[in-house]
Amino acid sequence: MFTDFLYLLRDYGMKTSLNEWNSLLDALELNLNNASLLEFYYMSRAILVKKESDYDKFDQAFFAYFKRMEETDSFPQQLKNWLKKAIAATPFNKEEVDSIWGKMTLEEIRKLMEQRLKEQHEAHNGGTKWVGTGGQTAFGHFGYAPKGIRVLGEGHNRSALKIAEERNFRDFRNDDVLQIRQFQVALRKLRLLSNKDDAPKTELDIDATIEETSKQAGLLKIVMNRPRKNQTKLLLLMDSGGSMWSYADLCSRLFKAVQESTQLKDLKTFYFHNCPYDELFKAPSCRWQDRVKTQWILHNIKPEYKVIIVGDASMGPSELLEVDGNIDYYHGNAKSGLAWLREFKRKYPAIIWLNPLHYKLWDDYFSAKTLRIIKSEFSMYPLTVSGLEDGIRELLKKSI
């Protein structure tokens, strides 16, 4: 068994499961036409690797594992069997072959081959006399004979290792590939199905059809309806810059997931630095020219929007509690950050706060004070997949 290869792959960070592993073992039971380590390399890669960013991990693991196998000539038995089986495409008597060819010296074989090559005028595969592939003479390749001359195809074992060593897919290696799918799946739950929309009427409304048809005493009247669509509108407010840099990756994952979730009817995103004040920003850089009046947002974005605020809620207490406490010295604020937050809370009944800070640090972090205040005002969840799920459940409860 070479189950240790499976574990090595997993050590290299691949998520290979038993499912794929069994497929590979099934494939080894098959009689694929050619069998060589190169063939095995391509086969196992096609079966075990599921995304291009994993090719490189596979190459490294493959090289590490089979390099050792080759050096110590300790290929796993199953692989050996497969190599042997596929080679023996035509049935033959091993002992007989051994007895004929094993007795000859290499020099004799070479002479015989030259002679045969002269006699042979066509390609030949599988047999006991001619030069070709898959046969049992001592010449040709992919064949079986205890001794022999390989005409072509030498180095197949080595070339698999060479390919793996080349690591052609190194550029695809991306250990922090954004795993946004899980977030997207969670976001799907944020839906409010309704058919109040302007899509074409393509669905048969059975109840209405029966009703209308009955009214006409059985004269058929078909009623069509619009398919139900998600009506959820989302307002996303994200803290950007400063202490949030450490979570930039996590936040951009969430942002991408939200942005790509096509089922939302509308999405509006604004940014703030540490805490929302009189102005919010249209871009994460929070530049002054991208500003939007917070009052305008509160006025124009309807209360049916669900609101997710993303931020670490960590700042100096004055930034949250005081007029002109804004960290941006040149732009004061007429109302404290907390007052603005309360405005949002008043306007939007469905509002949650997602905190990228690990929840175990919520209490003993340096700015636990502001975090505690904000947490007492908002339902706060950690920015994790399960935190997002909990938060969405909360948002749905408070729907209007």
Binding site: N19, N31, Y42, A46, K50, K51, Q184, M224
Partner: protein, 266 residues
């Protein structure tokens, strides 16, 4: 055993050929990913041609549902027909129309089924097809019929990598990523498409093309199909190969975005 080798007009890399053959031997769907313009869709056509099999293409759109590929029951038509007493209205089967998957299952000969651009559909779409692709059968409750593949079709699935596909789905597929062809490979591809094209023009054009692709920050890198179109434009326009070193005629064929044209210094 069937052995795919690539066809005259489709140059496949060694790895791709092997993946196709492994998928066919293991009877598992083959998932092909790659940059746009690397010939993912063409592959299925080429396999069909190589094996001499019928090809069923199911193009996925954002509104496609898994059910559409199996069958559609035209209730409304049946209701209308019932009103006028059209013959055969009591036969539900008359109103069941098989989708592409269903058609492929019904073939008596082995066929090829291409599920094109699966990532375009809804997030859960691939999961809705797990059973059907695993067992190669589905049940039609209206008629009580089970459609089971007589000959398991060879299933090719393409994805542009716009969305990550669910793990459960991936586990059932053989995966192959088509890397962008290198210069030698591209030369072969050009040769397959335009056998008589002047070598010198190809050499110069290849040079320019790969230089363009390597400009960092390109938002939409030109692909194989753009390159082939461009070559044709160069021939039609009678452009001298040497002049490519100095200028970039018909740049709009290669680069489709204004930012990219700026990046290329145009």
């Amino acid at each position: 055993m069937l052995q795919f080798q690539g066809t005259e007009d489709y140059i496949a890399s060694e790895g791709l050929i092997r993946s196709v053959n492994i998928a066919a031997a293991l009877q598992k769907p083959l998932l092909i990913k790659g940059e746009p313009g690397t010939g993912k869709t063409m592959l299925a056509e080429s396999i069909a041609k190589n094996f001499g099999m019928d090809l069923f293409i199911w193009s996925i759109k954002s509104t496609t549902k898994a059910q559409d590929g199996l069958y559609v029951y035209d209730t409304v038509q049946r209701l209308y027909d019932s009103q006028f007493g059209t013959a055969g209205v009591d036969d539900i089967a008359k109103y069941i129309r098989l989708g592409k998957l269903g058609e492929a299952f019904k073939q008596t000969q082995k066929s090829i089924l291409l599920i094109d651009e699966i990532d375009k559909a809804d997030l859960e779409f691939p999961n809705d097809l797990l059973w059907e692709l695993d067992k190669m059968e589905f049940y039609i409750p209206e008629t009580g019929e089970t459609v089971k593949a007589l000959e398991r079709p060879i299933v090719i699935i393409t994805s542009n990598a716009e969305k990550e596909l669910p793990d459960a789905f991936l586990r059932r597929c053989i995966f192959h990523y088509i890397a962008f062809p290198d210069q030698d490979m591209m030369r072969q591809i050009v040769k397959a498409h335009y056998p008589d094209m002047e070598q010198k023009l190809i050499t110069y054009a290849l040079e320019v093309f790969y230089k363009l692709r390597n400009i960092p920050g390109m938002s939409k890198k030109p692909g194989t199909s753009e390159f082939l179109d461009w070559l044709q434009a160069l021939v039609i326009g009678g452009i001298a190969p040497e002049s490519l070193a100095r200028e970039l005629p018909y740049a709009g064929v290669l680069l489709k975005k204004t930012e990219d044209l700026h990046l290329a210094g145009l």
